[in-house]
Every structure is written in C-alpha cells, then in structure tokens.
Symmetry: C2
Subunit: 410 residues, 2 copies
Amino acid sequence: MFSGTNLPRVGGYNLNVVLSSIQAADGISRVEIAKQTGLTAQTVSVIVRRLIEQGIVKEDGSSPSSGGKPRTTLRINPRAAYAIGIHFDPIEVSVVVVDMMGQELAQSRHGISPRLEPEALIAEAAEVAHKRLAELDIPDDRVLGVGAACPGPIDQSQGLVISPPRRDCWTEVPIKRLLEHHTGFDVIVDNDANAAAIGERWSGHGRTVSDFAFLYMGTGIGGAMFLSNHIYRGVSLNAGEFGHIVVEPNGTPCYCGNRGCLEAMCSPAAIVRNVRAELALGRASSLVHLYDEDPELVDHTAICLAAVDNDQVARRVIDRVAEYLADCAVIIANALDVELLVIGGKGVIHVADIYAEKVTEFLQSRPLARKTHTLRVAISDMANNGAALGAASLVLHAAYAPNTADLVGV
Amino acid sequence: MFSGTNLPRVGGYNLNVVLSSIQAADGISRVEIAKQTGLTAQTVSVIVRRLIEQGIVKEDGSSPSSGGKPRTTLRINPRAAYAIGIHFDPIEVSVVVVDMMGQELAQSRHGISPRLEPEALIAEAAEVAHKRLAELDIPDDRVLGVGAACPGPIDQSQGLVISPPRRDCWTEVPIKRLLEHHTGFDVIVDNDANAAAIGERWSGHGRTVSDFAFLYMGTGIGGAMFLSNHIYRGVSLNAGEFGHIVVEPNGTPCYCGNRGCLEAMCSPAAIVRNVRAELALGRASSLVHLYDEDPELVDHTAICLAAVDNDQVARRVIDRVAEYLADCAVIIANALDVELLVIGGKGVIHVADIYAEKVTEFLQSRPLARKTHTLRVAISDMANNGAALGAASLVLHAAYAPNTADLVGV
C-alpha cells in the first residue's frame, strides 16, 4: 500500500531535484533552477551552497540577466565522482570507468571462455577495473561504486543472476556479493537493457524525456522503459521483455516457450541462421565466397555490412528484421504511449539506419494514437558499449536521481 | 523535468495516504495505520481527527489489542459523499450513483439513436442523473462530481472526445464543458478502459494491488494499467490500447491501420461476423434455427450462451478468441510484468470463465518470467456496468487517492 512522507525525505528529494536540473542543462543559474523546479529561491540557494561545498557543483562564469546583476552559471563538476560499469554479456565482458557526467574515461573488453567459472570471471573483471582506475590516477575514495549489467532475469534485491539464456553455469550466481568482495566497492546489479536505458537517461537521448522505451539489441533482445521519469521494472523486475513479444505466430520456436517472438526472429543468431540457409540454397550474394571458404565466416557483422552494401540476400533478411522490429515498436506505442523509442545495443551497429527508417515508417502509419502524437525514434549513440556505460550510470542514477519512491519510502 | 516539493503538499499527501489505508481495510485501528504507512502515531491521530470532523471517517466499535486498552476501529463513512458515473458507449448510455465506497446505489441505462446529436444526449444523461439523486434523497452539496467515460481517444485536459470509433458525429465534442453546464457539477472525463480500471482499483480486484493491467472488452477492446500504485496514461493519454496489439499478422484489417489486431479479431462484432459466416456455410449448430429466422438474431449474447452450452460453431469461435486474448495477455506479461490482469467489460458476460481459463493456461506456460511469478487473472465483478461505476470512481479517486505527482506538483 501507500506510505507517508516526512521532512528528511523531502530535503533529500529536493537536493536531487536541484542536482538533476543542473545535470540536464548545459549551464544554468539559481534563478532558472527555481523557475524550473518550483522551489523557492532561498531553498535553491541553500541546496546549491551545499552541493558546491561537497564539490559536486561548481560555479563557471556568469551570464547577463535582464536588468540586474549577472547570474552565476552552475555546472556539475565531472571530476566530483566516478563510477565503474561492468557488462557481463554471454560472449564478452566490458569494463568502463566514467565521470560524474557519465562520460567514458577508459574501457576494456575481452571475450569469455565458455568454461570459465563465474567467480573466476568476476575476479578478473574486478582486477581490470582496478588497473584502469590506477592508470587514470583515480583514488578509491572518489569511486561511488560498481554497476553490473547482466542478461536477465535477475533478482535485484539479492544481486542474483538467476538463469540467463545461453549460460548454463550461471544459475543463481550471487554476483553482487562476489563483485563487492573482489572490488571492495558497493555494487548495484541490473539487467543489461535496464542498465542501457539508465545510461540513455543519464547522458543520452533520454536526458530530458519523461517517458521513453528502450529496445535493446544485444546478443539477445531485451527492453526497458522510463515512465513518468522513473524506470519501471515491474513486480518481479522483469518488465520490458520486448524480445519475447510474438511478431510471427507460426515462426521459429524460442527458448521462452513462444513461437516467433522477436528474439527468435531478429536476434543476431537468427539473422545468421537465415542468411546461411539462403546461401546454402545457392542464392546469388556477395557473401558466397566467404560462405564457400567457411560458413562460420558469414557472421552477424559480415551480414550487416553486406546489407548496407545492398547485397540482395543480406538486405532481404535485414529488411524483414526491420519490419518485425517495427511491428514490435507499434505494439510498444499502443501499449505504452511513450514519447520516444531508443534503439540500441551492439546488434544495431552498421544497420541502425535501416532499422530506424522502417520503425519510423510504421510508427507514422499504424499506432491508434498517431494522430495525437507520433512516437519519435532515436538510435543510441552508445551502441557499442551501451550496457557497460549504462551499468556505470546505475551507480550515478541511484545516488543522484530524484525518486518519488524515496520520498514516500517504498 | 522534476519539480521540488514542500510542506503543504506533504500534508495533503499524507492525509490521502491515511484515508487510503482506511478505505482498503475492512476496519483498521490508528496503530495499524501508523504501522502500514510509516507515519508517526501522532501524525496519524491528527489526520484521523480531521477526517472524523469532516464526516469522512467514523469510529465503529473496537477490537482487543495485546495487553493494552482496546483499539478503536475506523471505517470510511460511505454516506460522506457521493459521485455520479456516466458511460457513453457507442450503443447505449449508462448512469450510476455511487457512495463513497464506490457501491452502486442506483443505475439507468438506455439505447442511443444513432442520429441523436451529442449535446441532446448529454442533456438527457444529466436529467437522468438528477432524477436518480432526487429519488435517493441526496442533496447536490453531497455530490463530489460527475465522472464521464467515453471510448478513446480523448483529450483529458480539455475534456474533448476526439474521434471515437463508430461514432462519426462525435468529433471533438467538448464533453466536460457540456456536461458541467447540464449537470451543474464538476466533471472529469476519461476513456472507458481507464475508468473501468480505476473502478477496479477503488472497489474491485485492484484494491490492494500496486501493479495491474486491465483488458477491457466493451463494444470495442481497450485497456489500462496501474503501475506503482498510479494509473499510467502515457504522454498523450492513450496508453493501454491493448485492443490494437496484433495477434494475427495476416488477419482482418482494423480501422486503426493494422491487420489482425485484437479489436479486429475478438470484438463482439468480429465474433458475430465469424459465427454468421460459419452458419452461412451450413455448419451444424444450435443457432441454425435463429439464423434461418433472421441472421440478425444471431447476436453476441446468443453466441456466448450457445458457446457455454457447447454448441460446436459458437464454441470454436469463442475458443479462438480466448486464444487471441491469451496471446495478448502473454505480451502484457512480458512487457509490463504486473501482478494481476483483470478482464472486464460487458463483452465477457457469459464467456468470462472460458476466457479466464485459456488466459491462465497461457500465462502459466509462456511469459519469460513465469518461473519468478505467474501473472494472476481475475474477472471483473462489474462486467455489466464497469465503465459507469469506474466513471464514478474517477471522481472519488481524484479526490482521495494519494498521488506522488501531487506531491511534486507535476
């Protein structure tokens, strides 16, 4: 049920409201913050003074104001704090270090041997993180914490990875506890799509958008959503599984139990399988020479590059994928009525424009409410590294984003 | 962006938090309210005193407590306030009067001549509402207001009905202004599915559930959702259009622009069309004699009754509809991860059990997160009158439900 609120909670909430105004703006004055947030000038002044004392906000020049003294410009001090992001993808691990604005200062990436035990992998990632911090001369006490992104489903309260697809030995791994032990930092765990969406919110297309959905094309296909300025995780933290929306009722069976869901029709593995099947039938394609050398060489990257080059086979398969994604986008529009759909993840590298064009076309002609407003489409600028950057943003977001749930203590 | 909060907002919010605790319980003590809400005993006492003075809450006996004086039981005074609900369906208008607990005290229902102008219809509904109030001896000053439910899309801020399906003359009708003029009360307008969901929240299956979806089977098919204890309407107030989710990509074209969406495959009109088509082919069915007399006699009600009686033709069509509804329920589970799906609206009368059984079966075997938790299914107990009762609840909900958006002034 509902919980009441009280003064200390209000103070903490308003501090984060002011911080969030400064973070979203490219330079802002105290007067503008008061106008934007509805807080009194005095409340804003007190909060800003505290943020400056803590080194989180800095004064940076001034701008003229209409008939009065110039207004001091406030900005986040990006060096006030740092966060580490680690993305455990089924086939590789990425580690990033970001500053307070979510900007990447360093990154590492390495493939995973399928036989490596979870704890060994976690220990290795922790070691890499500490090496990058040392190279950047960042002392441990300036690090807010570690964010870890994993394929879902996960149990966030316990920091457990439950049973991710395609990783049999990762059943009920206590990733939060292990990573805290090996890094010495506080750890927040979330699924890769939620992490990528929070990254988008912190420093990408979602920065000033109250309601957006994220379609995450990684090794698998996932999703996430910000509704009314808050990430919505669902009652078991599994909301946004857009990858398991059925787009072809008689399509390929998926491990989830459905047939023809997005994951089964549009994941990189499905794309590779479909193109190889066409090549096996002897269709004319620029990929034939690769295929004849070794079918394994016809991988997702080769196919995406060929599609952009208008190879008939690759392009037909990618175009079909674009239509399925667009079908799913229409469902998202009808069900959620958000303002923006961000598409990201390394699965869209090279072919993002093809996907965005088809999705935009369907969104302009299909959803019921399209005459009221058309859902905008954006491609994440963090495609190659979105989940790791997002994982780092988990830490920044948890520390600094205003959350009405904190206000009412739920 | 975010807005700050302040003391008066906190006071109003906490009052509604206490009220909501009392409303959800079947008798509750001050001590239990404090425990449930996290508010101090003193804050609860002050708020309860004010609610008793206003006549909204009453003391009703006492219950023994473990080693202390007996605790006084608090209840809502159902006669503290009343609300009127009006549902403008494409084929009929329903008017209800409810008490503060959302219980129906009176109802009227009449068919609509397709040629009646909107204002004449609204004036007629207002007259009916005043007659019912007079019969119940309820003075105007005890009426909180009128809730109006219409098929979407609507513009809630302006109280405009934009262009509902199957009602050509209802384009941009200023329903809020007209209804305020003709009734003399404040009016809140919402689409029928949102209204039905709010009714479910106020006095139905959603009373103590923080996250639920509502699948509304009226003349058309719509939907709504409560997420984190708040109704989620989307950026253009059109969230929850589950009726336009495609369940059969090559299916019947829909007026929305898709093919094979739930509305086109499962609305009463589609069910009637499909059964008549089978009867026209001469299939054996208990409906043949009706059909031979006049095909128009084979209506939705006749078909649903025949399906329950295991008539082969009717049952096959209804079973197929049940599967499509279940497909849509799986999409809702994957996308929203709510705790409960309520199915309601007059379209499920007679066949609710057939639909609920199939939906439950799919929800136990298909959604990705089914091992974490299974989405529960409930049939609305307000099927026959859900949107009108829900419309009345709009008024109660707006006046009394805690809303964190009010807290932060957005």
